[in-house]
Amino acid sequence: MEDLIKIENLCKSYQGEGCLTPVLKEINFSIAKGEFVAIMGPSGSGKSTLLHMLGFLDTQSAGKYYFEGKTMDDYGQEKIAHIRNHKMGFVFQSFNLLNKTSVLDNVKLPLLYSGISEDKWDKLAIDAIAKVKMEHRIDHTPGQLSGGEQQRVAIARALVMNPEVIFADEPTGNLDSKSGQIIMEILQDLNDAGETIVLITHEKSTAMHAKRIIHILDGQIDSDTKLEQQLKAKDSYTK
């Protein structure tokens, strides 16, 4: 399958007071279109930093990151904003919905910057809301929704531009287990429909919904396992 994401020797360091703190060291992997990858690791392992770089929200200190065969250096600021808008969807742990704005308008937010004709906005937003089964809450504001419902709206917002990939940063981190389960099922359904999903989590139970788990430890890849291999390994151990 064609690589959507490819990273080579990716490093990221932060300049502290007088010293350089490395966060990611020599990371290498690629993600093909249609994959559901969980990047897993404990707090401070560098997984969120990695996601920010994958989402063109931050830049690496060294190494190369190719998205659809091109690096961030190939684009100007405007083009990067365009790629974030058209090809990437973001789901955050804290939902990041606009408080005094309705569900419909929250989902329409990426369309504002899309260049898509305004008369198509309502249909696209309503279709995205339907995918997360939130049509009945279309005129509500985030304050009137539960945490799980807010995250479903955030997923609809990520879907509205029909992106190449959805980056989900700890999407169940602020939810109870039942709501978390619903969110993961939605992400699984989306993946089954062909959507590429990159999930960041520190919970193994959440990561197990993915088809591939990249385990990060101390800024380095500790393991990169496909779920089938994991299951096979588990089966052989059981036998």
Partner: protein, 413 residues
């Protein structure tokens, strides 16, 4: 980003803190309203003064005694100078000297105590000819005007202004009664109707007498305070002015114009001088008021900076979802321009209402014929300046917002 949504977002941002936005708008509102009020009052004052000048007629030339210069002593020397005499009047009346002169009127002016019974009053004593009053379109509505014979014979007759009549006689009949000025007894032969201010003189507050009578019995002088030359047409005013200068220089044996002991003013020159003075004064006051606009602008900058800080996370989110630096810049610039624009429009409306109120008070309670003046150019300029202030003072916080790193912004709680 579609303009409609930029406006909608800016509007939402501002209405989220209504009271704070109102206080910010207030700063601009006060600045613009002050400028509109000052410009309007300045124009009103200018119109009032110019209407006074125009009421003196555009075909008239005014000759004043003494040299006119810009020194402080100029006004004093004009009052005290005795350079305009009977000989000048005769020379100016000669067709060979000033061919375009239709008429020449002498004027003597003073204030004097006037008595009737136990009532005393100090009006302006105005001595001239009946023809001069005709120039001002002012005639007695009770009794009659004095005649050329009264001037020649220095008759002790007087016509009272409406206010003088009321001060001395109240509601009693005044025609045929005698009033005392200095030691002479004057017969009241006429009363002017209420006329108000004309040519810088309150015609209600004068007593009008033959100039020869005023010189002999009231002032004890043989010179004139003014000579007014009526010219046959407006086009000939400049030529007549030159003829008057030459005639008076001959009459006073003056060879160099620097030694002139008289000055000549036309309506046009007075209008120009007055316009310059009032315009400069208005500009100065408007400049002082515009300082408040700068203070208002700093307030705008402060509030937009606070708004950027409060909404840092929102900015990060918008950038993550595809907003460009330009989108964010326009959003916050528009908020700033929206604040100043609303302040500007409100300032124009309130400034205009205040101007109307001031005009109403001055006309109805202070006795001035003060015209209400609304300057469209001041209103347009006021609004444009306020919008410009929004752009200038909003630019820094808007740029700050636009340049925020999305990830830094998203991390902010």
């Amino acid at each position: 980003m579609v303009l409609k949504y930029i406006i909608k977002t800016a509007y939402k941002g501002l209405t989220a803190n209504k009271f704070r936005s109102f206080l910010t708008i207030l700063g601009i509102l006060i600045g613009i309203a002050s400028i509109i009020l000052i410009v309007s009052i300045g124009q009103g004052a200018q119109n009032l003064v110019l209407s006074q000048v125009q009421s003196m007629g555009s075909k008239n030339i005014f000759i004043l005694p003494g040299k006119h210069d810009t020194s402080m002593s100029s006004g004093f020397s004009m009052i005290m100078s005795d350079s305009l005499k009977n000989k000048d009047l005769d020379e100016l009346k000669k067709k060979s000297n000033v061919p375009n002169a239709v008429n020449v009127f002498p004027i003597v002016l003073s204030t004097s105590l006037v008595k009737y019974g136990n009532n005393t009053y100090r009006p302006m004593v105005f001595g001239s000819t009946p023809e001069l009053m005709a120039l001002y379109d002012t005639f007695p509505d009770q009794g009659e005007m004095f005649t050329e014979e009264d001037i020649t014979g220095k008759t002790l007759v007087v016509i009272l202004g409406e206010k003088v009549k009321n001060e001395l006689f109240g509601t009693d009949e005044a025609i045929g009664r005698r009033i005392k000025i200095k030691d002479a007894s004057f017969l009241v032969i006429g009363i002017f109707p209420k006329s108000g201010q004309k040519g810088f003189m309150n015609f209600d507050d004068i007593i009008f007498v033959p100039y020869s009578t005023a010189q002999t019995y009231i002032l004890g002088t043989k010179y004139y305070n003014r000579l007014v030359v009526e010219v046959d047409s407006e086009e000939n005013v400049a030529r007549a002015k030159s003829d008057i200068e030459n005639t008076l220089r001959d009459s006073h044996n003056i060879e160099d114009s620097k030694d002139d002991d008289f000055s000549i003013e036309t309506t046009e020159s007075m209008i120009n001088s007055i316009s310059i003075i009032t315009n400069v004064l208005t500009l100065f006051l408007a400049s002082v008021a515009s300082i408040s606009l700068i203070v208002g602008g700093v307030g705008i900058m402060n509030i937009v900076l606070v708004s950027v800080t409060e909404r840092t996370k929102e900015i990060g989110l918008r950038k993550a979802l595809g907003a460009t630096q330009k989108d964010i810049l326009y959003q916050f610039l528009l908020e700033s321009v929206f604040l100043t624009g609303v302040g500007g429009i409100s300032g124009v409306i309130i400034g205009t209402l205040l101007s109307f109120f001031v005009s109403y008070i001055l006309t109805n309670f202070a006795g001035y014929d003060w015209p209400f003046s609304f300057s469209i150019s001041a209103a347009v300029l006021g609004f444009s300046v306020s919008a410009l202030i929004g752009l200038v003072f909003g630019l820094y916080p808007a740029k700050k917002a636009a340049q925020l790193s999305p990830i830094e912004a998203l991390r902010r709680e």
